[in-house]
Symmetry: D2
Subunit: 391 residues, 4 copies
């Protein structure tokens, strides 16, 4: 690559409107593409050093508002308007429709079951016995390991370490609580400190890799389904037979049959989620509120459970075992993102559980809506009217 | 829910600046939250009817530019600057670093292997024999079924139908090519038409659900790993031992060992991707370019393959079996998103394969960078310097 | 290893009573262990050259008889007595109990949906494009490839070849029908011939490995769940509410609830089978009838589906997607094994589908029995009375 | 079913030669099938009440002897002759060949890492909060729960309880050590006692099902890969380049490449084991030694790990995370089975770890042999010479 291809950077202060323009002009010169709209933003580049490099402007993602939705949580209580950033037509309308059903049935009950954030180093030995014996030593020295880890953070707490032996490797998985931050970096630092302490203290030689991929960061995994990464949140509702029939034109017996079919299809497919479309709601609310957008892949996993009750009502619950979200740090403090959080009174410390409950309620709303739409057969036609096929 | 909680909508024309303001004011009144920055946008609401409902404004997602990266594809040829919309500090810098390594090694070779988009109805019968016999009939009548499906679209072509019997259900999975659109709605309409034709024509009674969840839409699945959803794209490179040592301070033998450890960890975890972090690059480029952001969950799945060559160089390849992306329709035509596509000369018809190749090259760049960073041990510290921990 | 440790073999005729005794004596000399009972057999060693090497005698596995069970299959019609070789107390009694319930409900309807046996070579190239292009060539030359494969066998027919691209490798999976044999070796030979033909004919260079492990032989895999290996067999029944209540002391509503719980548990666990214990019945009948006992691992996979009917009856179906069994060749012709097959009129050519139907019916019987036992709470106590805890 | 179809039973003493003959005659009368060989056995029916019901005779499974194999375990030390009961030709020869390679390379190092046996009840509540709170209570009352569980057994010890929340259900998984027994029934009884204690003691109402299928008994599961069921055993060896070349005609570099291909194929297939054929060795040794033959499905799961060493030697390790085996109880005490255990000095108390080590060494031997055979290309032809194709 010749030097003239290099993206311009300022060594002094790179997060300025000027440098953004210099880069846009450079790109226009290089590619012929105009970057007019990308350069129209109100965000202050000085706020961005922790969020981005080589800043050139913004993408404007339209935000629609769904709801309100009645949440009967332990943290979120009341009616919430949910901001969804999306370019997929019908999405906001569909979630809103599900929320209307929820409200008519008395609201969603939400529960945060547990929460952990992980970093999972791998320790390598000469043979399987050394690896096993190291594992026993780790168990015996948990308190000191925790002290080493927690020396790097005022918030993170090391709760337990899981262990797996494979050939001559010992995989550890450090599980922390991380307050209102998602905490990936916090636990990375803490685990590095712990590993360095281990390496210095363990009476025999050992090598390690800070991540042996059992974290599993930025990817869906069955492990995350089992051993919660982020928050494990459950949203439940009893859908009234009468409401579903009136609002959605769907009979609960038919809904039960269709749900069984879909569950089985998902099982056969080896799907990360057995309901209709958790990812839509999560991606939209994540973008609107400055979450790490890649965490949608972990967060969308889950289980949709149902039960047709004797009186014809329909119990429905979504379990999200690895919902990774924050109300503080990362992108949550950027102007528009912060406003979207504030709209739900979810910005800042002490709000993460509340926010997680609203996300889970939103997922449930979307699944109610799409499941009914597929049955009622107007799923395709609603996309035609409002959505992308219009073009 | 009382009427006064209802979000204001205009029955005449809801996609206007006025209605957006009415809603923002309503929300401020209801929640006390200001929506000042959200209301500062240059997008024209009249362009949004196919993309969003209940529009209130935009979220400004900062865009950084990574690259350039040398892509030696069949469609993408040359140096590309890649726009990444993110709020995660170090992400753009990390991808850029990987791209520098790629360039010094001669560029990435990219290959689109195949592409399909699916809709998967489930047909329900009285017993397993009826379901099996129906399946045989479907095979025999493929041409007419295809004709019925394709009557709804000028672009989509039905290529083949997969079938699975479970108890008395026959799951079908219609596989289409969809041109430069992602095509979920296109194939939804086509499959509905096909199913209606089947229902009308099949000599025996049959019921169906338009989606039996084997599509698998908006969720990761093992099925998508096997039977490509979207595009199956492969990016390959031979990393030179000397370049990795000089630029990344990493020895290729150590990299090979670490990659094996990480592969095994991912296998144990049941992870959707066995490399470091495909989701980061995909989510960022998807948001920047107006892709359906929920499709990150399908797209991030894949396999990172490696081989330490006899001369010490390091072959590395990423296989993305379900990369769902478009250069036309959906959010791709919105002003900033379109600019970001144009920056790579990827907007409009005939560009989808080119775009897919650039995405795959970007994923490979990010994995090179993070894999090396974990080994070199400065992964945590680079986050400290540039990233979120700064706050 | 010194020569004196070497197991005695006869280069002339090793399958004789004399050589078996020589080896038993050698082992007794070496280890001090008596092999009295092992040497008491009525099998003729001359029949064993195709079944075993270094023959020393037999293990006597007790056989119990379950049933009869009413099977309403397409091949198996009537009442069948099922031989189960096992050392697990209560197993035969439990299956018999389930069969009694089946009979009182009118019998099991069984359906063989499809059948394939596979060998899956991997072809290796210089890059992903060569691998992809090779795949297209394979598609275009299917007829000649099939001819090459089928030249090695009068029974096996190559039906289709599945393909997957990963990095620079092209995995193929040859799918054959194999008559009444399980056919693993038959398809191995045929695929070797096909690969050799491909290698000789393909205009570019290519290397292959006869098995790239996507067969997947002698291990459970999700692939086998999807794409039947062996026979895909389904057994269905409508259990009468009254019969379950009277015979099993179980209410069908409770059974439905419990089954949902167990299905969800299996999904969470990532289990190969979501019912109670397919493996017990399959292993026992496989050993009794001379099946390849390692194929239990593939054969036990499956899905248990249920539906609580409006009248309170309970539809239950087991889908076994990779039941690998034979009525000819392998161990089926050994004296006791053949008798056990003949007991069900399942020995020899033209009987494989019939046998598969009986196996599926047996699995269903066992699952009915154990599911009810867990609910009725006497599962533990029945083991106490009859089973191993007695010791 | 008419009474005349009923299998004859004696209410006084059903485990006699007479009753076995009565049943054989009955079956011959009913089906026309002779049961001559099945009735030729030396086992004493009086020993069988804990192992089988409706006894009619035995199946004679031929036993071949493989080895010896040098095991350098913590429990198994020295040369072992391994009895394999099978009807698959070439199997014994193949394992023996692998053992020869092992011996020439100095033997297998084996390590038992940990061992647990589980029973996994599901507790059902009115909502997710009750389920969560119950889980906390279980944690706090672990000691008393353990006391209740252990009151039923002198051997079993409750080590820890894992927990998962899904909707309104709390899945528990009780992990015990069980001495030299496999222990499924032991832990069933203990967990029943614990659950009854919980039900009586928990201040709120709760219902439970003794197994919610997360055990996961008699089926492969990813959970068992992660959280050892039975014994987690690892067998390791460094294969010398020279030995492989001389004995197996295989170059270690080629072996490394082929192993990577096979690993990737297994990953794509979603296979329970990524090596060649663990199930063959395990099934054969299990049948020979009176193990519960259905446990092959859990036991065959695992990981084959490899590393090409700088000097050209080849590190190979098999990790079996859920090897379920016993040297006491069950079928281990039957005459021929006991002899086969004694042949390895593995019968009775205090021998289970030793036996597990030998099984793991055997699996490794078989994988070395088959992996090399596939590469050397004589895999098909060796089956032709010795195996089933002969017929």
């Amino acid at each position: 690559m010749s030097d003239e291809s290099r993206i311009p950077r300022s060594t002094e202060n790179d997060h300025t409107n000027e440098m953004a323009k210099v880069r846009r002009d450079f790109l226009t010169h290089k590619t012929g593409a105009e970057l007019k709209y990308t350069g129209e933003y109100t965000i202050n580049p000085e706020e961005l050093p922790g969020n981005i490099e080589n800043f050139i402007g913004v993408v404007q993602m339209p935000v629609g508002i769904a709801g309100p939705v009645q949440v009967n949580g332990e943290y979120a209580k009341g009616l919430f308007y949910v901001p969804l950033a999306t370019t997929e037509g019908t999405l906001v309308a569909s979630y809103s429709r599900g929320m209307r059903v929820i409200n008519e049935c008395g609201g969603v009950k939400t529960t945060v079951v547990e929460q952990f954030m992980q970093r999972a180093p791998a320790f390598i030995f000469n043979d399987a016995r050394e690896a096993r014996d190291f594992g026993l030593w780790v168990e015996e020295n948990f308190d000191q390991i925790a002290a080493a880890a927690e020396s790097t953070t005022s918030i993170g707490k090391l709760k337990h370490i899981q262990q797996w032996s494979v050939s001559k490797t010992r995989y550890l998985r450090f599980n922390y609580t991380t307050g209102d931050a998602a905490g990936q970096n916090m636990v990375g630092k803490a685990t590095l400190a712990a590993c360095e302490w281990i390496k210095a203290t363990y009476p025999h030689e050992c090598q390690y890799l800070l991540s042996g991929n059992m974290d599993t960061d930025k990817k869906h995994s069955h492990l995350n389904m089992l051993h919660s990464r982020g928050k494990r949140v459950i949203a439940e509702i009893v859908l009234k037979k009468e409401v579903l029939a009136r609002v959605m034109k769907v009979d609960t017996q038919v809904l039960a049959k269709a749900t069984v079919l879909a569950n089985t299809g998902a099982l056969m497919a080896g799907a990360a989620y057995n309901g209709p479309h958790s990812a839509n709601g999560i991606a939209s609310i994540f973008i609107a509120t400055g979450q790490d957008e890649a965490n949608v892949v972990e967060s969308h996993a889950g289980l949709l459970s149902h039960e047709l009750l004797p009186n014809g009502d329909f119990y429905l619950a979504v379990t999200l075992p690895s919902l990774i979200c924050a109300t503080y740090g990362g992108g949550t403090g950027l102007p528009t993102q912060r406003e979207c959080l504030e709209l739900m009174d979810c910005y800042g410390k002490g709000k993460a559980n509340k926010f997680a409950e609203i996300v889970a309620a939103t997922v449930l709303a979307g699944d109610i809506s799409l499941a009914c739409a597929v049955i009622a057969g107007h799923w395709v036609s609603s996309h035609d009217k409002m959505g992308r096929n219009r073009r």
